[in-house]
């Protein structure tokens, strides 16, 4: 298993390099540069700015500088936020996004699996209909609609929660975590329900029933593990989707996380900031996929690496 993980990590390096190269090229090809503004800068000032950021040099050289800095753990200086390096910007924003993202993922996993199990066991009952309604609601109504409604209800109409100058405290992260959890629960609950129903209808479960095993043992000991496999498959993409969701939630709840950095980075053509964040998402994706594959082996005895 360890050698498998090592091989996968080694294999990730060229993947990430390709992502960085493609992103670097796409940013260079995008019309409009970091120094374009309503007020056009004079050619002399533009020359000074380009020289400062090496933009006056050939693209292959700029790419070389970037890779060299990257190898030294330096994501470069931000084009937009002149006083900050990309390392410090990402370093300040990441803990906030991670806290909100991880908390919501853990909660979504717990509630998604729980509701999925209940719905599967009480198929076509009121409980099932409620879970399915919740799932469809969370999937169908976009976060940029639910988010502002939550703020309206809990911060304005009944001012129970603070809103504005963000602090990394439970009161401030409650609503964004609730929103992300709702979105993820809707997916996880639906998949868990379908998966468990399918497993419960399989032959070996029928055998277990025939042997007279209690339902509790059948579900917990025999059905849950295989039913969780699709959930595990989903976790990787869902974790990456949570980063993408942060783009909306962080804007709605005014959270200083990586989602807002990414949006502003793209709008401002902050090449280094966008590259740094794309790199972060690429690494996260590779890691999530690796973790999912490892968990597969733990859940399914047929899988061996």
């Amino acid at each position: 298993m360890l050698s498998y993980i090592f091989r996968r990590l080694c294999g990730a390096v060229p993947t990430i390099l390709v992502v960085v190269t493609v992103c670097f090229t796409m940013l260079q090809l995008t019309p409009g540069g970091p120094f374009d503004s309503e007020r056009k800068v004079s050619p002399e000032v533009l020359a000074n700015l380009q020289a400062k950021y090496h933009l006056n040099e050939p693209i292959y050289k700029q790419y070389g500088y970037y890779l060299n800095n990257l190898l030294h753990g330096d994501l470069g200086a931000s084009f937009r936020y002149a006083d900050w390096s990309v390392n410090s910007l990402v370093g300040n924003a990441l803990p906030i996004s991670l806290t909100i993202g991880c908390t919501s993922m853990v909660l979504a996993l717990f509630f998604g699996v729980l509701l999925g199990i209940v719905a599967a066991l009480k198929q076509n009952s009121l409980v099932d209909y409620f879970v399915m309604f919740l799932s469809n609601f969370g999937s169908a109504v976009p976060s940029f609609v639910i988010g502002p409604v939550l703020v309206l209800v809990f911060c304005l109409w009944t001012p129970l929660l603070p809103f504005g100058e963000f602090r990394l405290t439970p009161a401030y992260i409650l609503l964004p975590v609730a929103l992300l959890t709702l979105i993820n629960v809707s997916t996880l609950g639906r998949v868990m329900r379908g998966s468990l129903i399918e497993v419960l209808n399989s032959n070996y479960i029928r055998t277990a029933r025939a042997k007279g095993l209690p339902l509790r043992t059948i579900v917990l000991r025999h059905a849950l593990k295989p039913a969780l496999l699709p959930i595990v498959t989903l976790l990787g993409p869902l974790a990456v989707a949570t980063i993408a969701q942060a783009v909306v939630t962080e804007s709605v709840f005014a959270i200083p996380g990586i989602g807002r950095l990414l949006v502003n980075g793209a709008i401002n053509r902050d090449y280094t900031l966008v590259l740094g964040l794309v790199l972060l998402v690429a690494i996260a994706t590779v890691l999530f996929n690796l973790i999912v594959d490892v968990v597969y082996a733990l859940l399914d005895p047929r899988i061996r690496y």
Binding site: Y81, D83, V151, P159, F163, G164, N264, I267
Partner: protein, 541 residues
């Protein structure tokens, strides 16, 4: 340059201007009977994260707002845009291109160090240095040798600024610059604390390291979250500064910003979501503080375009747009109709107009049809145009109104093309458009800033318009020392340019601001639209 030198020789015969009053207290003026709150703290939403607190790098409105609290230049503007003494307690124009500033003796840095004329020299030379790569070179271009220093053709020591002694600064300009005291209010022209800059380098702007000379000093800064300033006890007018702590929030989303304001988590907001002004005005009339600014919303017409290079077509397009409907029905934030390049309140030139603007619309349409017919367009050969704008609800709304005016009144078929902001800027700067959404707010209160939009070859001239007669008039005006004569010349240049219709002026911008009723000192007569916290106070509530 030769003209400048000859004018300098005439300096002795020129009536010298004297401005500024010694030791004027300029901070918060609390009216008699107003009881102040025990907690003098203010939260302002700033609209976005500041790009920098380094005065050589600031360019956006949010960054200028914060650095205007942190730093003070030789002069300063109050919240009515009136020029007042800043670090300089008085100044004198000793020749058309030479100014002498006398610094107040009690000016200090936030760490208690004495502030001297040399701090200005250091700051300006550093910003103009090509290695610093400032984006805001425009202010320095007015100083003697400024353009050459910025281009790296002359050393920074050649810049037109000299410390005569610790408290006397001599500033020389390339041409007579009547608006120099206005220009020097900008934070980019503030002094810099050399010792802390040399000690910390790029990090000198971080909390605990930043040494400022304004009414406030930096206490906390978390990117995309908050920027907290506290009162600078060493500021020369600290006794009249009431607000002890100001927090700037960087919330970009206008709907979120309004919710934060309504939740009581911000005391002022500078913007409102599109279409909510009237609703807010009806609900919270006392909190509405719309401020008309020196900014023009206009459509640029590409004068190099085969269709639009015909002046008659450009004139017809401008004539038929009903600005009254546009400002009152489409916008509705209190904007003023515009028919000129210059907006009301601009120094250095008068607002011009068109003879046709008072005619009934039917008559204007009739005239416009004649112009189009003369240019070869009519029912049998309708004019086709393309209008480009950056993606935004407001720009789309205005665009739909304008093209419907052209369609219904002149039969012109106009396609709309929206682009992402930076893509759009490139399209416009490169001149790859026919009609484009455009807007301009001045950097300093002088007609020159607006005239940059029509000068031949100017970086800001996206219409690619060029009329040598207009340029000659502007140049003549700028070399004229007499204020009245200068104003007449720049007005004449504006009139001349506007008769060529390089742009379609639509309206003068209004900043649809809201402030809580307990924030005192807020004005609605501030054309430069920078509100210094030091002039505000919190009323007991």
């Amino acid at each position: 340059m030769k003209q400048v030198k000859s004018l300098s020789v005439l300096a002795a015969s020129v009536a010298l201007a004297l401005a500024g009053a010694s030791g004027v207290a300029t901070a918060a003026k609390v009216p008699a009977g107003v009881q102040l709150d025990a907690k003098q703290e203010l939260i302002r939403n700033n609209g976005s994260e500041v790009e920098s607190l380094d005065i050589s790098q600031v360019e956006s409105y949010p960054a200028i707002s914060v650095t205007s609290d942190l730093y003070e230049g030789l002069t300063r503007r109050d919240n009515n845009s009136k020029i007042l003494p800043g670090v300089a307690e008085s100044w004198k124009q000793t020749s058309p291109t030479t100014w002498v500033f006398h610094l107040r003796k009690d000016a200090k840095w936030s760490n208690g160090d004495a502030l001297t004329a040399q701090d200005f020299v250091f700051s300006w030379q550093r910003t103009a240095d090509p290695k610093t790569a400032t984006k805001y070179g425009i202010f320095f271009e007015f100083l003697k040798n400024g353009k050459d220093v910025l281009a790296g053709k002359k050393p920074v020591s050649a810049l037109g600024v000299k410390a005569v002694d610790a408290h006397t600064l001599e500033v020389t300009t390339d041409v007579p610059t009547a608006f120099l005291p206005d220009l020097l209010t900008n934070p980019q022209m503030a002094p810099l604390h050399k010792a802390s800059y040399e000690k910390f380098g790029k990090d000198y702007t971080k909390p605990g390291k930043l040494v400022s000379n304004g009414a406030y000093t930096l206490s906390d800064w978390v990117v995309n979250n908050r920027l907290v300033l506290v009162k600078n006890a060493n500021y020369w007018d600290a006794k009249d500064t009431k607000i002890t702590k100001v927090t700037y929030l960087p919330v970009e989303d206008e709907a979120t910003e309004l919710k934060i304001y309504r939740a009581g988590e911000a005391d002022t907001i500078d913007r409102l979501p599109a279409g909510t002004f009237q609703q807010m005005k009806a609900q919270l009339p006392k909190e509405m503080k719309p401020n008309k600014i020196l900014g023009l919303y206009y459509y640029g017409l590409n004068c190099n375009d085969p269709v639009l290079k015909d002046k008659r077509v450009r004139q017809a397009l401008s004539m038929v747009i009903d600005r009254d409907v546009l400002v009152n029905k489409v916008m509705g934030n209190g904007e003023a109709q515009a028919y000129s390049l210059i907006v009301a309140g601009t120094a250095g030139a008068s607002v011009t107009g068109y003879d046709w603007q008072k005619l009934p619309m039917a008559k204007r349409v009739e005239e416009a049809k004649k112009l189009l017919a003369a240019a070869g367009y009519g029912p049998n050969k309708p004019l086709h145009l393309k209008f480009s704008y950056n993606t935004s609800e407001v720009h789309k709304k205005v665009g739909l109104f304008v093209i419907s005016e052209w369609k219904t009144k002149l039969g012109i078929v106009t396609g709309m093309e929206n682009q992402e902001f930076k893509v759009f800027l490139k399209t416009r700067h490169d001149g790859n458009y026919q009609v484009a959404r455009n807007g301009w707010s001045v950097d300093y209160n002088d007609a020159n800033s607006f005239l940059d939009l029509v000068r031949c070859g100017s970086d800001q001239n996206d219409s690619k318009y060029c009329n040598k007669a207009v340029d000659a008039e502007i140049a003549k005006g700028n070399l004229t020392v007499d204020a009245a004569k200068r104003k007449a010349l720049l007005t004449s240049a504006t009139k001349l340019a506007m008769e060529d219709y390089p742009i379609i002026p639509l309206f003068q911008y209004v900043q649809p601001r809201m402030t809580k009723t307990w924030v005192g000192g807020w004005t609605t007569t501030n054309p430069m639209d920078i509100y210094k916290t030091q002039e505000l106070y919190i009323v007991k509530h």
